[in-house]
Assembly symmetry: D3
Amino acid sequence: MSSPAFAPMTEFTRPSGRMPHELRSITLECGVSAHAEGSCLISFGRTKVLCTASIEESLPPFLRGKGQGWVTAEYGMLPRSTHTRSNREAAKGKQTGRTQEIQRLIGRSLRAVTDLVALGERQVIVDCDVLQADGGTRTAAITGGFVALHLALQKLVGAGKLPKVPVQQSVAAISAGIWKGMPVLDLDYDEDSTAEADANFVLTSDGRIVEIQGTAEAEPFSRDQFAGLMALAESGVAQLIALQRKTLGL
Amino acid sequence: MSSPAFAPMTEFTRPSGRMPHELRSITLECGVSAHAEGSCLISFGRTKVLCTASIEESLPPFLRGKGQGWVTAEYGMLPRSTHTRSNREAAKGKQTGRTQEIQRLIGRSLRAVTDLVALGERQVIVDCDVLQADGGTRTAAITGGFVALHLALQKLVGAGKLPKVPVQQSVAAISAGIWKGMPVLDLDYDEDSTAEADANFVLTSDGRIVEIQGTAEAEPFSRDQFAGLMALAESGVAQLIALQRKTLGL
Amino acid sequence: MSSPAFAPMTEFTRPSGRMPHELRSITLECGVSAHAEGSCLISFGRTKVLCTASIEESLPPFLRGKGQGWVTAEYGMLPRSTHTRSNREAAKGKQTGRTQEIQRLIGRSLRAVTDLVALGERQVIVDCDVLQADGGTRTAAITGGFVALHLALQKLVGAGKLPKVPVQQSVAAISAGIWKGMPVLDLDYDEDSTAEADANFVLTSDGRIVEIQGTAEAEPFSRDQFAGLMALAESGVAQLIALQRKTLGL
Amino acid sequence: MSSPAFAPMTEFTRPSGRMPHELRSITLECGVSAHAEGSCLISFGRTKVLCTASIEESLPPFLRGKGQGWVTAEYGMLPRSTHTRSNREAAKGKQTGRTQEIQRLIGRSLRAVTDLVALGERQVIVDCDVLQADGGTRTAAITGGFVALHLALQKLVGAGKLPKVPVQQSVAAISAGIWKGMPVLDLDYDEDSTAEADANFVLTSDGRIVEIQGTAEAEPFSRDQFAGLMALAESGVAQLIALQRKTLGL
Amino acid sequence: MSSPAFAPMTEFTRPSGRMPHELRSITLECGVSAHAEGSCLISFGRTKVLCTASIEESLPPFLRGKGQGWVTAEYGMLPRSTHTRSNREAAKGKQTGRTQEIQRLIGRSLRAVTDLVALGERQVIVDCDVLQADGGTRTAAITGGFVALHLALQKLVGAGKLPKVPVQQSVAAISAGIWKGMPVLDLDYDEDSTAEADANFVLTSDGRIVEIQGTAEAEPFSRDQFAGLMALAESGVAQLIALQRKTLGL
Amino acid sequence: MSSPAFAPMTEFTRPSGRMPHELRSITLECGVSAHAEGSCLISFGRTKVLCTASIEESLPPFLRGKGQGWVTAEYGMLPRSTHTRSNREAAKGKQTGRTQEIQRLIGRSLRAVTDLVALGERQVIVDCDVLQADGGTRTAAITGGFVALHLALQKLVGAGKLPKVPVQQSVAAISAGIWKGMPVLDLDYDEDSTAEADANFVLTSDGRIVEIQGTAEAEPFSRDQFAGLMALAESGVAQLIALQRKTLGL
């Protein structure tokens, strides 16, 4: 907050103390589930999401006989993953609109990089369960969900059921937002709740776009600001994809 | 978008026969409801959405006593608004994830241009019901929903309950997509179902962004392609806002 | 109904200003849906109901293999079709008892005049959605639903799938009630909410009865009063059936 | 109904063997519940309905402070009250449209003869649970429900909470139908499932009409046939009301 | 339980006035349902449960083709079976946890004594509906449910569909609890609501255990106290099994 | 349990290879949640349950004003905590009977050792979420849930809101079962699915009983076998309580 004459960037201090383009500490721990065909625990700082991929050798009725497989995702938050306890969706008897939005987004993101025909008539269900939430759970879920999916597909290859992993690109996701007028990367909860705008980017390893969702929380934002968010996101996703590839031994 | 000098636009024919940057015929009919405080029927070609705004002089419990009002939206499709009949959500006992996504989007878009403090402790509920669907129902709903909202707020002003309409900007929305590699504006159903990517833009009258949602349907898209979509959207929204303002007498 | 020589009809003024036996202005607009096999928009004064008939070339499991088809109906009201906004049934997660009663009534009424065996193993679903309500929505739905059904069946005949329209009679419906002790026809909302009794009559073109539902709202009514209601209804339905036939070109 | 001089009643035999105007054996057993303020077990032949009336000294929120009370009814069938077992509504998670129709009918019928203002700000809930079904459960429920209601109100009078029973008339109900072209009274299940038309009449002790519901099952019916049904019903209800009054010591 | 020579049983008085080891008056009335394959009405004092067994000659999909049948149970309470009225589960749209616990217990208890392979590929559904509740409804339901099941199986034997009743043991159930520090048998509602602990025992005719459920209501209990409860239960179940066998003519 | 002199324990090998009285490896990790007032991750071998305790300074309406607090529990399994994936309860829209049974059991167990009056008018909600399941999830949940509850209550003491932790006893739970005729302690999934009987014991630190639930899976069991199960459980719970106390520093 004290601004030395030449150092303008120092004038600006995010609640997290990070630089505008700085990711939180990201970790990826694979094979955390004894049962799932693929699994990982991904952390973006204090946000922790358990991702498991389950292979089912059959398809739901409406997808059968089309010569292709399916990848879908489900998302949930443990009731006390949040700062104050939220009601359990199973007890309320329905999933919120937010939950449904997020799980649809994860599923679309994973399908966008999977060759569903090469997958064959089977289904992979990727469950992303938030153990602890501190902002960015949906982007962590996509990034970790891809790893769990890949591990499960590797297992099919290992078992001789597929010749190679039917994935065309890596995919990862990150948020960026406008905080006090400044684009910043990877918002945590405190930053997110005071940001003017918030966007999520789902990008592939060859730099293309799978999903973009940008929302003005308080104030509409300009095209230039949006370009700033996208630049931050591209740099962030590159780092995430490098970590995924290292973790998966690609 | 930039077509080489000799490149015959004629080679490229959208299913609708429209030019890439051409909107469908858009109409706005106000005051269609005998009961609602504000209402309009908006058509984007064959897509028809009935928008009504209802004012309630009380707030739901969790919003009370905060010195501000609220604007929210609900969205529905008549069962046979679609090419083949869809099941009635009321009969299934729940709204789909898609419905919830859309109504949350409409609500956020309208709140982004409303001064909730100036609105006072009252609620406006904007219902957007699709009578006939042919692509672009959510963008029609936002564009028409703004008109219904404005009419209802005018009524409050007319009744002396508000000194002026507490709206800061106009807001409208349009879709753009990539069809056979080419950015095109305002996709109808046939175009949408064969597009490679699809994006919705919610923009204000001063050219800022309220919401962006871009989704790769088949293939990730590039940053340049996305820029092309945004350029189309800006031109489309400008036309929609001009129509809104004319309709509202602004 | 029979007024003594000197008895001034002028003494008795319905809220609507109509004569006791006078219908509201009734209009029927066909072909209003681009997608449905049959459709019409029916108005009884300010009451407007959109009726669509959808043909499905398969039957629900419990109806299969019985050598006959099925006609069923669904009913809904847009949230702001009413004077004050009602909650959306899809959002509440269930249809009210009133909704279910009405859609069962519409379905029974339409089946009563359809030759289900001649229809063959297919189903017609008639959706009746109230765009604007001002009393008499269920009778408008039956009257308009019959027109939508007939149009859809004509389409099957036109496509060579049926030799002739498998409908034995026209069917239409009207309400009558006792208002300040006097039988009156076709109650609007203001009349209905102050009536002592209310009855709905579903009658065929040969003057027979498909359904009668009479309810004392405030006070039980006499057999003679009920006879008065039935006489009014017969005259009203005759007019409605004439309009249906003219509209359908029968 | 009118049989020619020599016309052998023997030619016409109802499945039950009863005469056209003949009720089944009707019994009413009061005080069958140890807990309810009023209760009875009513039988129409093999149809058995347990009716209890519960008094609650408070009203649901939307009825409070209007200076009157309320009478409402709920209806249910035990899963094996029927010839073949039906699914339990509590397990399915919702009440059928039929159940809701019936309980609304019972509630309206009982309210039509109760002075709600004299009842004061309390509620009576009448539960009608079908222990065994053989046709006519809704009419049995109304007839028995009135007795349970009256007993509960007598208890309030006995406790000094009301000066007198706030009931203006007795109310009872019976079905009549057209079976092989002939009006017959009080259909049992076998008769009901082969009848051409079916009507339920809810009538008061002074011969007025509270509810009429007539439905053509197979074939529309004529005005004369309907008059025949009503005449049968009037005679049947007179017998039921005599039994109620005797049971209640009126 | 063992009272010292001079020991003043008189000092210890259960609310019911019964001796610690004394059952309420138990009655079993068979064949109370005209439709069910097996039925009985069982009373433990004022607790009355109607038990019906329905045979279905098909199995739910997940049980088919395993060379065995199935026995399941459902449980419900009429709304006014209780001291004060409870809400109807069908109206609330779900069964309470308590209801589900009880019906699962009844089902397990009946299956434990049934030879499911000998039963063949059919299902018996035992419905236990509480008409009046005064404590011990689940134990009454198991004891009566066994009788209804046996009667239904006898009917299959009578029809030549089974060579003999595929039941290996009788099964019955009773509660015991600790009331003012003393083990007592067969608690009624008043006793149950003031007991320190409460246990339910499901035992077979050869003295073995099918289910034990013991719960400290207020205060944990000792191993010796639990042994006392079990001794009471064994004596109580022996009496119930004798009554079952007499009723069934075994 | 009593093995004849020469009877080789070697003859008897549990699937897990453990001795009959041997617990799995048990671990307790505290403070695993950044948000919850109390939390732990408990493992019984491969079974892992995340337990969090959330304090709410208000009570649900029906508990208010009674001069006491409340402790309740919720239970859930992640979809792929199990060997094959289970459907997500939030997606199905309801909790299974098993889930409800378990969460009711956990809540009763924790309340049995808590002084609710000393707790004051606040509520503790203990969420037990199974991350990985391999038998014994409910007993792990009770044992870990007590630790989470105690930690949360310590926090209230630390904040000066309570003079001391209002807990009277420690409580822990363990399963025991009959496997090939032999009582064995702490069944894992493989053992549980082939056991003849299965029981869960919830015991306090002073050796008293809070809950006992014993179920014959295949064959009723004898009183002596049940005594064997209880003896094993007492030894197992003693070890668990020692671990709890060490972890909590008691």
